[in-house]
Point group: C2
Chain length 712, copies 2
C-alpha cells in the first residue's frame, strides 16, 4: 500500500477529533515515570486534560492511582483514541482489538517498525493494513506523541514535560515534526520563551497520517495561522504543494526546516528515517515560490514562528532604530543592509519631535543613539515610538535596549503596551540579560531577540517585497503535436537523446526563439542553405558518435563568406570520412551576436517532479554554479529568479553587456515551462545552454540544447 492511499481519504474534521478525544486508553500504562507508559499517563493526568483516561495494564489493578484494565475489550466505554506503548510485536494484537471495537484512532508510540530493518518493516505493513481495513487513524508508529495546549491533551512521553510549574499556553502556532525529539524540544522551547504553540504533532513513521495531511488539516482550523514544520523528507510532496497554496489563499504561513540538505546530512537522514533527501537548492526555490518561509536551523524555525505569528501581514524594508547603544545600532545597521533592508529617513516631524526629547549633545539621525535617557523616562520612549510610527518613510521600528536587569519588566511592559497602539511592526533587541523581559515581550507578540543578527534573520521572511509575483499565462499557443512528433521520432530511432537540431525544433514549436540553422551533407547543399542564413556562420560536424565536436576539430567559427563556409563544410565532411563517421552531416548555424549567456533547464526532481532551472550559462556554467530552481508547474516569477542569482553584475548591464530584463525574458521562461509541463512524461531532462540575452527589444536566442528522453 502506498502512503498516498493511506491518508488520502481522511474525513473532514479528523484532526480536530484526534486532538479532542472524550476518552483515552493508555495501553502499556505504568507507575514508573522513567518508562514512556508512565510519563505519558502522568502528563495526561497533570496538564488539565478533562476527558476520561483509562490505564490498560494486564499486570496491575491500579496505575498511578487509577483503576487499570486488562485490555481494551474490558474498558467501560469505546474510547476515541488508544495510545499504544507496548512492544511492536504485541502492538499488532492491540490494533486488532481497536479495529474490532471500532476505536477510530490509535497513537503508536513504540518503535521497532520500518526504522529497524526488514522484520520491523513487515510488522509495519501489517499494522498499516489493519488500520486501513479498520478505518483507524494511526498516529506514528515511532512517535513520541502529540499535544494540544488548549485542552491539556498532552499525549506524549517526551521527558520535556517532566517538570513542575509549566502552564501550557494556547496560541495560533502549530508544530509538526518528523522527529519526536525535535518536535517536543521545540514545543517546550517555544512555550517557555513566550511563543504560544497551540499544538504539537510528531508524525513518526507516517504510515497512516503524513506530515502533509496534518499541515493541511491545521490550515483548515481557524485556531491556527502559522504552522512550523521540521522535515527530513516529504513523503507526499504534491500534497505539500497543495497545502502551501491553500495557506497562501488563506493568508496563513507555513515555515519549514528541512534537514539532510548536504550529502553527509542526507546519508544521516536515510539512516534515521529511510526517506529520500531533496536537494538543498530545489527546496530553496520551490519553498520560495510557494511562499513557505525556510528556516535554517532549530532556533531559526522558532524565531520565524515568533515573527510571522506576531505580524502575519507583510511589511516594508525601511527601518527606524532606537538604540540605547551606538554599537548595537551599528551592528543592526550592518545586519539590515546585508539583508537588503534599509534605514528609514527621518522626516521633519520626527526631527522636530525628537528635538525636545533628547539631550543637545546627542545627534538626531537614524539609527538613533539615545543612550539610557528614554529608558529612565519612559514617557519619552513612548513619544519616540509614536514619532517613528507616524513617519511615512518608515515601515518597521526596532528598539535595542538591555542591561537593565533590575528594571527590565518595567521597560518591557511599556514596550508591549505601546506596541498595541502602533500601526507598524515593533521588534526588540534585548542585550545584556533580560530573560524575563524577552519572555514577556515574545508572549505579548512583540518579537524580541538577543542580538541583531538573529533579529534580522527572523524579520526578512515577513518582508512585503519578499512575496512572489506570479506571471500571467502566455498567449502564444504552442504546436504540441509537432513537438511530440519530434520526440516520438527520436524514440522510434532508438535514441535516448534528442540532439541540438531536433531539440531546437521542439523549442521553436513552443515559441522560443532559436538560432537559425540548416543541416547539410555536401558543399552543394551548403551553398543552397546559405541563401537562407545570415553571415557569418558557424559550421559544426554532427554525428551520434561524436561527443566532443570541438576537440575532434569538428567546429569552424567565424565563416564570413559563402566560399569559406562551403569550404569548411567540405573539409568537415572529409574529416568525418577520415574518422569513419557514416552518419555525419554538418550543421550551419548563424553566428549569434554576443550577449549575456544564461542557461535554462529542466529535470525530474526525486521529490517535486519536474523543476525548471534558470541561471548563468555559457562556458563557465559549472564554475559559476549560479542557478535558481522552481516548480515547472509553479508561478515562475522571473524577476525573483533573476534577483536571487548571486552574480548580479553580469545581469545589470555593466561591462558593456546588455541588461537582462526580467520582463523581456519572462515569455521565454514561461514557454519553456509550458513545454516541460506538456511533454514532461516523455522527458527526463532538458538543457538549453546558452540562451543568449540581447537588449530588451529582441527575444533571447537559444543557441544549443539537448533533450534527454525518459525511459519508456
Amino acid at each position: 500500500m502506498s502512503i498516498d492511499d493511506a491518508d488520502a481519504g481522511l474525513p473532514d474534521g479528523w484532526l480536530e477529533r484526534l486532538y479532542a478525544p472524550r476518552a483515552v486508553a493508555v495501553v502499556g500504562a505504568s507507575d514508573d515515570i522513567r518508562l514512556p507508559g508512565g510519563r505519558l499517563l502522568q502528563y495526561l493526568l497533570n496538564y488539565g486534560y478533562a476527558g476520561r483516561v483509562y490505564p490498560v495494564n494486564p499486570n496491575r489493578a491500579e496505575v498511578q492511582g487509577r483503576p487499570a484494565y486488562k485490555s481494551l475489550t474490558e474498558l467501560p466505554e469505546r474510547v476515541d483514541i488508544a495510545v499504544v506503548l507496548v512492544s511492536a510485536a504485541a502492538s499488532v494484537g492491540v490494533l486488532e482489538q481497536c479495529a474490532a471495537l471500532g476505536i477510530p484512532a490509535a497513537l503508536f508510540g513504540n518503535s521497532g517498525f520500518a526504522e529497524t530493518g526488514a522484520e520491523g518493516a513487515a510488522l509495519q505493513e501489517k499494522i498499516a493494513r489493519i488500520a486501513r481495513e479498520g478505518g483507524i487513524r494511526l498516529v506514528g508508529p515511532n512517535t513520541n506523541g502529540i499535544i494540544d495546549s488548549g485542552n491539556g491533551f498532552a499525549a506524549t512521553f517526551s521527558p520535556v514535560l517532566d517538570q513542575k510549574g509549566l502552564a501550557l499556553r494556547d496560541g495560533p502556532v502549530a508544530i509538526v515534526s518528523q522527529s519526536g525529539a525535535v518536535g517536543a524540544a521545540m514545543y517546550y522551547d517555544g512555550q517557555r520563551s513566550g511563543l504560544a504553540v497551540g499544538r504539537l504533532y510528531n508524525s513518526g513513521n507516517e504510515i497512516g497520517v503524513t506530515l502533509e495531511s496534518v499541515v493541511d488539516a491545521l490550515l483548515d482550523s481557524p485556531r491556527f495561522d502559522t504552522v512550523l514544520c521540521y522535515v527530513e523528507g516529504l513523503r507526499r510532496p504534491q500534497r505539500f504543494i497543495e497545502a502551501a497554496r491553500k495557506a497562501r489563499r488563506l493568508g496563513k504561513r507555513i515555515v519549514l526546516l528541512k534537514s539532510g540538505v548536504t550529502a553527509a546530512g542526507a546519508r544521516a537522514a536515510a539512516a534515521h528515517t529511510a526517506s529520500l533527501a531533496g536537494e538543498d537548492r530545489v527546496y530553496d526555490g520551490v519553498l520560495r515560490e510557494l511562499g513557505v518561509a525556510r528556516a535554517r536551523g532549530y532556533t531559526h524555525l522558532l524565531d520565524l514562528g515568533r515573527v510571522l505569528a506576531a505580524y502575519p501581514r507583510p511589511y516594508g524594508r525601511a527601518v527606524s532604530i532606537l538604540s540605547m547603544s551606538g554599537g548595537i545600532g551599528i551592528m543592526l545597521t550592518d545586519a539590515l543592509e546585508k539583508a537588503g533592508m534599509r534605514l528609514a529617513a527621518f522626516d521633519a516631524n520626527v526631527m522636530a519631535g525628537l528635538e525636545p526629547l533628547l539631550p543637545a549633545f546627542l545627534g538626531v539621525h537614524n539609527p538613533l543613539d539615545v543612550s539610557g535617557g528614554p529608558f529612565h523616562h519612559l514617557d519619552r520612549l513612548r513619544a519616540m515610538l509614536q514619532l517613528f510610527d507616524r513617519n511615512p518613510d518608515s515601515d518597521v521600528t526596532i528598539v535595542a535596549v538591555g542591561s537593565f536587569e533590575r528594571r527590565q519588566m518595567e521597560i518591557a511592559e511599556v514596550l508591549a503596551d505601546e506596541a498595541r497602539g502602533l500601526d507598524k511592526p515593533l521588534f526588540v533587541i534585548w542585550f545584556g540579560g533580560g530573560d524575563a523581559a524577552m519572555r514577556f515581550l515574545n508572549g505579548r507578540d512583540v518579537p524580541c531577540f538577543p542580538d541583531a543578527e538573529r533579529l534580522v534573520q527572523a524579520v526578512v521572511p515577513g518582508l512585503r517585497g519578499d512575496a512572489i509575483r506570479p506571471v500571467a499565462p502566455d498567449d502564444v499557443e504552442p504546436d504540441t503535436a509537432a513537438a511530440r512528433a519530434l520526440l516520438a521520432a527520436a524514440r522510434a530511432g532508438g535514441r535516448k537523446v534528442v540532439d541540438e537540431v531536433g531539440g531546437k525544433q521542439v523549442l521553436r514549436a513552443y515559441g522560443i526563439d532559436v538560432v537559425s540553422e540548416r543541416v547539410v551533407d555536401s558543399a552543394a547543399a551548403a551553398r543552397r542553405a546559405l541563401e537562407g542564413l545570415r553571415l557569418p556562420v558557424v559550421a559544426k560536424l554532427r554525428s551520434d558518435a561524436l561527443v566532443h565536436k570541438a576537440r575532434a576539430g569538428g567546429v569552424r567559427l567565424g565563416l564570413t563568406s559563402i566560399e569559406s563556409a562551403c569550404a569548411a563544410v567540405e573539409d568537415l565532411l572529409a574529416t568525418a570520412r577520415r574518422l569513419g563517421l557514416a552518419d555525419a552531416d554538418v550543421v550551419l548555424q548563424e553566428q549569434v551576436q554576443a550577449g549575456v549567456e544564461l542557461l535554462l533547464g529542466a529535470r525530474r526532481d526525486a521529490t517535486f517532479g519536474m523543476v525548471v532551472t534558470l541561471g548563468i550559462g555559457g562556458v563557465l556554467t559549472e564554475a559559476w554554479d549560479d542557478v535558481q530552481v522552481r516548480l515547472a508547474g509553479g508561478d515562475l516569477d522571473v524577476h525573483d529568479m533573476l534577483a536571487r542569482l548571486a552574480h548580479q553584475s553580469l545581469l545589470d548591464g555593466s561591462g558593456g553587456r546588455p541588461r537582462v530584463d526580467a520582463d523581456a525574458l519572462a515569455p521565454t521562461v514561461r514557454r519553456f515551462a509550458r513545454l516541460v509541463r506538456d511533454l514532461g512524461d516523455d522527458i527526463e531532462a532538458i538543457d538549453v545552454n546558452p540562451v543568449i540575452v540581447h537588449d530588451a527589444a529582441r527575444a533571447p536566442t537559444a543557441v544549443d540544447t539537448v533533450i534527454f528522453l525518459r525511459d519508456a
Copy 2:
C-alpha cells in the same frame, strides 16, 4: 597630539596597576543610584573590592554611608585612580588636581567630548594635554568603566550590575570594547552563561589609552589567554597587528567583532565614534592572516570566547556525534559538512564497544542516534564518550541531548566530569530547555549551545587546518634600483600612472614572469622587433590619450605572420594619426596561451596600509568579484588565499583548464608582495590582470598591468 604619542610610552605593568588600585576616589559620587556616580560607587562597595574607596562630593558630608570629601586635595592619601563623573567642563579642573597630586590614573566616565562636536573636541584636547603632561593614564573619556572580576574592582556605572546575587567569576577571558553598552552587556551575558570573564575594559574615546594598548597589555598578563574585542574602528592598526603576532607567539587567542562593515553601518559608526570604518573583506583577510578569529555578531563573539578559552589548542575536523535525537544528528551533520568538517569513521573498537551498550534495533553508525538510553544509564554514556575519544580517526566529540528538564543537572555533571578525562574536545548541544545545564557546562569549560548551527559556527575557528602556513622568503633578489628608476622616470614625465609597458618592466625587475613584448613606432621597427617574438602576436595602439584601446579599434588579435603583424602596425599608426594621437606607438605582444586568468593587486587601505589582493581575474573580474586580501607585509599563505576563493571549480583543473597550484603560484605572489613593500611609498595601487596560470611547470604570466603612483 596624535594617538600614537598618547599611549606609546605606557610603562610596564600599567594595566595591572590600573585594575588593582589600593585606593580609589569617586569624583561626583552620589546617593542616587539612578545617576552614574551613585551606581559606580555602589558597585565598588558591593562587589568585594577590598581597596579604600573615597566618595568626593562638595555638597555632601556623607555618600552611601561613607564620609564624603569636598575635593581630591582633601583626601587622606594619594589615591591610585580617580574616577571622574562630573560634567565635561568641570572635569578639566579635576584632572588638573590629579596632575598636581601625582595621581597616576583617571577614569573619565563623563561624555561631552569629541563625540559631541567641536567644543567637546577642544575640551578633549585639553584633558589629553593635561594627562600627558601629568603622566596620568587616562581611561576614556566617554567610557562606562572597567571591571576586574578577580578583585571585585567594578568601576562601572552600567546598570547591568544593578542587581542582587551576581557573583563575579574570575577567568582567563578578557573583553575590550569600543562601546561601553556592548562591553558591559557582553561582560554580563558572559558571566551569567558560565563564561569566566576576568576583565572588562570599555575604551571610550581612547585619547589616553587605545584598545590596542589594552589588548597588548592583557596578552602580557599570565591571567589571560583569550581577548575578545568589539571594534568600531582601529585607531592604531599597526599596533594591533603587532599584538596579534605576539598573541600567536604566546599561543593566546584574540577574537574580534568589527562593526560598521557595510556602507550604511560605516555611516552609522561614523556618527557614533568618528572613526574610519575598514572594508569588510580587508578585515576578513587581515584577521585571517593574523590568526585573529573574526566574530560575526554579539552572540558569536561570546561563543568564540567560550570555545577558544576551553580549547586553546587547535583540533582536527573529524567529529563523532552521540545524539539523543536522530533529527538533531542530521542537522548537526548538515552544519558540519557546510563548514568543511566531516564525520569520523567508527573504527572496530568503537563498533565492538558500542554493541553491548545499545539496543539491537538501533544501528551503529555516525551520527550515533542513541535515543534516551545512555541518558538514563549514565555509565553507558561515559563508556561511549571514552570509545569515541580513543578512536584515532576522531578529533572531536559532540553530544546532543535535551528535554531532560528535571534531570538536566545529573546529566550535565556526568558530561563535565567525563570531559576532564578525555583527550579530545567535547562539545554539547542542549535542545529543549536546559538553561541550568548549559550554564553549568559552559562554566566547566565544556562549550554548550542550544542548536547545531551556533555550535558549528563557534567550533570552526578552533580547527587545526584553519591555521595559516607562512611561506618561506624568496631567494630571488629583485632589481629594486631598476624598478625605482622606472617609477621615478614616470613621475619625472609628469605621469600619475605607469602604463602596461613600464609596469611590466617593474614586475620583471622583481622576477615576475611577464608577457614578451616590444614597443615599435613603424612597420620597419615592427619587422625587426618580430625577430625576438614568437608568433602569433597581438598589436595594441598605445597613447596616453587612449583610454579604451579596444573600443577605438586599437587592438589587433591573432596576428599569425610577420606580414600580417607589420600590416597591423602600419594600420594602427594610421589610425593614431587620424585620431591626432601625437604620442602614439604600438605594443607588439606575444599571444599567451589560454589558462586560468587571475588578478593580483595591491592598494593602500585606510586602516592597514598596503594590502595585496589575489583573486579571479580576466574580463569578468567585476562580475565574479571573488578576491582575497592580505597584508602586503604579512605571511601570505597562498594555499589559504586560493582555498578561500568562492569559485573553486575554476581552479581545480576541471573543464579542460589547468589546475591552479598554490606552490607554483606562491613565488609570483611573494615577489609581488616584496615589490609592494619595497616600492610602497611611491605607489598608491597596482593592478595586474590577468595573470595567466598555466600548468604547474611554467610560471604564471602577467599579461597586463597598471601602476598608480602616489601623490608626491
